[in-house]
């Protein structure tokens, strides 16, 4: 590596180190600093953003960076593929994907920090140093996760991200509900991470390496194993790759809140809204999908794993969207929309649409951060009231919040030309062309398509109930004002939500025949990439066939038209029902379906039952068994010996004469026995 001055990548570790320093500073000195520790966080994330942008530019200039920073440990590998030694290390991999993600994460983190000044400091919260310290640690973990160059390092920071979300969701620990939600979030994701850890161990034990990139990567090793038709752990290589891939996917499903591990996410709304923004847009939940993108080469080797990813994604998209339709709490609606949107990303990645998935990840980061921060602004306006039925009419009183929120909503619903449209459309297009060959994927596509309609409904239901109509409560008539720290991040994100879609307008590019799909070029290594980690290499590996309705352009337009039409239909439905001065609770008319949706398809119930109805009684039974049977045997041994000696001690009468008699008797007896053996009586 050249000196720091000439090589921009020399600064790369600082991206993660800055927030770590902010964590330490805020934790130790936060109480004595102005703004209670917010400033170190803001400076650190701004620094991270600056360096991330330098990285971004450098990657754009055709450079990439892959270096080991520090070797954690090494040793004998005993791998199934014959690799003898294995090293576990911390390394940095900066390629188009991670450079892009670094910018997204550090930008959102910076905006969240700034917004917190208005949301937390201005509201006179206690425990702010703790809050900013945890935010710093959160940002550190996520950034380190993003530039991780191997699976183990990714897992480690993946776990740390989980810890930070636990701490932040439980920030208001004096309530009953926040600690419970935090515990649930950690436990459900831990359950997923259990599979992830098996996956990490299995991959390390199989291929003797955990690297993402280069000749030494496990992806390359897996390809070789499949080509050699090797047998790994009793399975043929293809099956084993599928199994390990699905194990890692367990962690992804947990963190990205995909069915059936989605239940923690709505509860996680117990945390401060700023934290929700960070969790949903750029860190915790994004980590799962990012991991799939990061090791996409591995999944590309296994059509089965991809199909499962796609199907789970499509199903979750629809499943969560339907639940979002009936929620009354503005944050709950957003929570279900997050689950649904990550379903789209999984669908996109699962059908081999690497660019589409990452594109949606990027757009979603911006518009979801915007929506959450907007919701945070609304909550400030409403004096911490979150029920949408208490709002209404905020449009005129808070125009900045309204228009930025609207931009986010349009992006979320997928209305042209806002960012969400372009990426969602690309996901659905990729799903459609593969789906025409694969019935499973077609089903996933169909679910994703129907979910577009529901997305339109819940998004605009939320917008109309919150901002339109007449104020339905006193606070809504006289809202609390918001300051610049709230407005500035909203404006930045609003602009991004409106515009980021323009970087990859695939339909326009096709129709007009111009090269404006910049993100695809970016991810395809047009500017610079690490070998093996590019879109077309992934596409070559993915074994899905594709076909079109008519020509490619026709299919593309058809797909775009369908999704846009459905989104508009959803928005129009919401407009009809809710954009009136005094809206009714129309959703209650759904009858049984309403109840089912309000109870979230009873997903929480069965999972709580698994924990409290099954595991806990099982534990208690084990405890009883332990106390009675196992300890009973131990105590029984002691009881028996005590009882026996209690009987035996009775020959000790305390009367000397008896002892003398026993002595004599014993002596005579011994004499007789010895005599008998000696042959006296023969």
């Amino acid at each position: 590596m050249a000196g720091l001055a000439t090589d921009p990548f020399g600064f790369a570790p600082a991206i993660a180190v800055f927030p770590l320093v902010a964590f330490v500073v805020a934790l130790l000195f936060g109480e004595h600093l102005p703004k209670k520790g917010a400033l170190p966080g803001i400076i650190a994330t701004a620094g991270s953003l600056a360096i991330s942008l330098v990285m971004f530019v450098a990657v754009g200039g055709g450079k990439t960076h892959h270096a080991t920073l520090y070797e954690w440990t090494n040793g004998a590998a005993q791998s199934a593929t014959g690799v003898e030694t294995i090293a576990f290390s911390f390394g940095i991999l900066i390629d188009p994907l991670s450079a892009l993600m670094l910018v997204i994460v550090s930008l959102v983190a910076l905006l969240v920090h700034v917004f917190s000044l208005g949301y937390m400091n201005a509201e006179g919260e206690t425990g702010l140093p703790r809050y900013y310290a945890e935010l710093g640690l959160f940002t550190f973990s996520m950034l380190a996760f993003v530039f991780a160059d191997n699976l183990l390092m990714a897992f480690m920071f993946f776990e740390l991200v989980g810890l930070c979300s636990y701490l932040l969701i439980g920030f208001w620990f004096r309530t009953k509900s926040a600690p419970s939600a935090a515990k649930k979030a950690f436990l459900v994701t831990r359950f997923g991470d259990y599979f992830f850890l098996i996956g990490v161990v299995a991959i390390a034990a199989t291929f003797g390496t955990v690297g993402f990139a280069g000749e030494e990567s496990f992806v390359t090793a897996a390809e070789t194993a499949i080509d050699n038709e090797a047998t790994l752990f009793g399975f043929d290589a293809q099956t084993w790759v599928t199994i390990t891939g699905l194990l890692v996917l367990g962690g992804v499903l947990g963190k990205s809140a995909q069915f059936p591990f989605h239940t923690w996410l709505p509860d996680a709304m117990e945390g401060p809204t700023t934290v929700s923004a960070l969790i949903h847009a750029a860190t915790m939940v994004a980590a799962g999908v990012y991991l799939v993108a990061r090791m996409f080469g591995y999944y590309a080797l296994s059509p089965t794993a991809l199909a499962i990813i796609a199907f789970v994604g499509g199903f979750t998209a629809l499943f969560a969207a339907t639940m979002g339709v009936v929620k009354d709490d503005v944050k709950q609606v957003l929570a279900y929309s997050t689950i649904s949107q990550y379903g789209y990303m999984m669908l996109g990645l699962g059908v081999g649409g690497y660019v589409a998935g990452v594109f949606h990840l990027m757009n979603h980061a911006f518009f979801k951060a915007l929506l959450f921060l907007g919701a945070g602004a609304v909550i400030i306006l409403m004096h911490h009231e979150q029920d949408m039925w208490e709002m209404g009419g905020l449009k005129d009183k808070a125009p900045v919040t309204y228009y930025t929120f609207l931009a986010g909503a349009l992006a979320l619903a997928g209305i042209v030309p806002f960012s969400g449209f372009w990426s969602k459309d690309e996901v659905l297009f990729d799903a459609l062309i593969v789906g025409l060959e694969q019935p499973v994927i077609l089903a996933a596509y169909a679910m994703g398509l129907i979910a577009v309609f529901f997305t339109g409904v819940y998004t605009f239901r939320m917008v109309f109930l919150t901002f339109h109509g007449e104020p339905r409560s006193e606070t809504a008539e006289d809202p609390h004002p918001v300051g610049w720290a709230v407005k500035a991040p909203l404006i930045v994100l609003g602009v991004l939500a409106a515009l980021t879609g323009l970087v990859n307008m695939a339909p326009v590019a096709h129709v007009l025949g111009v090269d404006i799909t910049f993100l695809e070029f970016w991810l395809d290594g047009e500017y610079g990439a690490v070998e093996g980690l590019t879109y077309h290499e992934y596409s070559e590996t993915v074994a899905f066939g594709e076909s079109y309705v008519g020509s490619e352009t026709v299919t593309m337009l058809l797909s775009a038209g369908l999704s846009l039409g459905l989104a508009l239909a959803g928005a129009f439905t919401a407009h009809t029902l809710y954009n009136v001065p005094e809206p009714d609770r129309h959703m209650t008319k759904l009858g049984g379906a309403y109840g089912l949706l309000r109870r979230n398809y009873y997903q929480d119930e069965y999972q709580v039952w698994l924990a409290e109805g099954l595991t806990l009684p099982l534990a208690r039974a084990a405890d009883r068994f332990d106390q009675t049977v196992i300890d009973g045997v131990v105590n029984g041994t002691s009881t028996i010996s005590l009882f026996g000696s209690d009987r035996l001690k009775r020959i000790q009468t305390g009367i000397v004469t008896n002892y003398a008699a026993l002595l004599v008797g014993g002596f005579i007896g011994l004499l007789l026995v010895l005599g008998y053996i000696g042959g006296w009586f023969a």
Partner: protein, 507 residues
């Protein structure tokens, strides 16, 4: 002579403390215990050994003096350290110092005797890890029991007598089984050994094994001895189903005794398993790998399930120790570099983390006089720093990356997943790994109920901030935990160096 110095300082310190006035005993014992801690840290930096102490390794700080002749066998004072025992000695001296500091608050009667016993136990523990002659080792091994028995029996909780006697008798009976087995082995080895020096016996075992005894053939005798010794050590570790003394002892023991019990005394069992069973009996390890792995997995899952059902914080940590020790057994039986190395690493790591957990629980107990999960809520409100450290320790226990617990568990899982010796290794490992979910379940559940939520306390004690000395010692432990988690090679290198001869050869 450095090891002798270590033991002598602790022993003399124990005597001096024993006769010192109660008033100054705590501070005096602390000052004295700093000497062994300093010496052991110096040993750590000056360590120049390599290889395994029992299998022709280069011993560090070796010292051997002829002592007795018993029949055809000679007994000698033989001590020395290798990469396995040195970290354990350092762990012992550090934990003893911290245990003394954490006794300042709770121990308020017969102080000089208490601190004297703690120093006495320290001397014996160092002896256990350093001794390389079976007789010397066994003397230290048994001598550890006495002070611990007294610590529990005199300064313990309401059921201290029951717990102390159960602890003493149970582990002592186990020692008897182990002792008998080992002596049978030595006699079975016949003329190939002339002393009780462990390296000689280990070499004889590896080079051919016993000839036989009492009509048993060599292989049969080796198997019987292996099983007997395994059972003997299994009580000490403890593994299911020999674990029931542990929760009773922990619950009744005063906090400092719990720290030593969980932190170091349990490691005697695993250390002995590694030194005897898994070093001297390679064939038997292979033969019994599957049942041992099954016991390990059952310990992990069953211990964790038991912890889930408890409402006493100390019982929770006690049962979770059973679970953690299950990982150690799994790593040992895997017989791979990462498996055995990870098991040794886990001994150190668990010593630090469980010590920290007991310390934190003790601090809360000192303030509230209850350990019942149901009696308190919202402690984070009153003792933010102590609770913060408790949470950090709990996450360390759950295997949070960048803390030593994760490194240890990851090494064990990685080592055992691909083990060629153990059949169904991937399956065993995967099942055992489920422990990381249950451990998160019970610790988070306990945290949710005790330290979070609105503040309330069933007992009417005034809860203030934790004392500075307690916080300081917890911070030291937390620092060590994080240091080992970030840089496991601080000790993992020397461990693997000592492990390699054990798993060497074609295995």
């Amino acid at each position: 002579m450095m090891i002798e110095a270590l033991i002598a300082v602790a022993l003399l310190g124990a005597l001096v403390t024993f006769v010192a006035p109660n008033r100054i005993a705590g501070k005096l014992a602390f000052a004295i215990s700093l000497v062994p801690a300093a010496i052991s840290l110096w040993l750590f930096t000056a360590f120049d050994g390599s290889g395994n102490a029992l299998l022709d390794g280069e011993l560090a700080f070796e010292s051997q003096t002829a002592w007795l002749e018993i029949g055809d066998y000679s007994v000698s004072w033989f001590v020395g350290l290798d990469g396995i025992s040195l970290p354990l000695v350092v762990l012992t001296t550090i934990l003893c110092t911290l245990a003394i500091v954490s006794s300042w608050t709770p121990i308020d009667e017969r102080e000089s005797q208490f601190y004297g016993l703690v120093l006495f136990i320290e001397a014996n523990l160092i002896g256990v890890f350093a001794a390389l002659d079976f007789f010397v080792w066994f003397i230290f091994w048994e001598a550890v029991l006495i002070p611990m028995y007294l610590l529990i029996g005199i300064w313990g909780g309401p059921r201290r007598k029951y717990a102390a006697i159960k602890f003493f008798v149970y582990t002592n009976v186990a020692s008897l089984v182990m002792f008998g087995s080992f002596i049978a082995l030595v006699f079975g080895l016949g003329d190939s050994v002339t002393s009780f020096a462990l390296p000689e016996i280990a070499t004889a075992m590896v080079n051919g094994g016993p000839e036989g005894l009492f009509g048993l053939g060599g292989t049969a005798l080796a198997s019987v001895v292996f099983v007997g010794m395994f059972l003997g050590f299994a009580v000490k570790v403890p593994v299911v189903p020999f674990h029931t003394w542990l929760p009773d002892a922990h619950v009744e023991a005063p906090t400092p005794a719990s720290i030593l019990l969980a932190g170091v005394l349990l490691k005697m069992g695993t250390y002995a398993l590694l030194r005897f069973n898994f070093t001297m009996f390679p064939d038997q390890v292979e033969l019994y790998a599957v049942p041992i792995a099954a016991i390990a997995v059952i310990s992990v899952i069953y211990g964790a399930m038991l912890a889930l059902a408890q409402t006493d914080l100390k019982r929770i940590v006690a049962y979770s120790s059973v679970s953690s020790m299950g990982y150690v057994i799994l790593g040992l039986v895997a017989s791979t570099q990462f498996g055995v190395g990870g098991a040794t690493f886990q001994m150190i790591s668990h010593g630090l983390i469980s010590g920290l957990m007991f310390m934190a629980v003790g601090v809360i107990y000192n303030a509230t006089h209850t350990r019942m999960v149901t009696d308190m809520s919202g402690m984070a409100d009153r003792m933010p720093i102590a609770v913060g450290i408790l949470i950090a320790g709990a996450f360390g226990y759950m295997g949070l990356p960048l803390m030593s617990g994760f490194a240890a568990e990851y090494f064990i899982f990685f080592g055992s997943f691909g083990s060629e010796l153990l059949a169904y290794s991937a399956l065993f490992t995967s099942v055992a790994m489920f422990g990381i979910v249950i451990v998160a379940g019970y610790l988070l559940f306990a945290l949710q109920r005790t330290v979070f939520g609105p503040y309330s306390l069933e007992t009417d004690y005034d809860v203030g901030r934790a004392p500075v000395h307690d916080v300081a010692s917890m911070v030291v432990l937390l620092g060590l935990i994080i240091a080992l988690g970030v840089a496991p090679d601080l000790i993992f290198d020397m461990i693997t160096d000592a492990i390699d001869p054990i798993i060497g050869g074609e295995r």
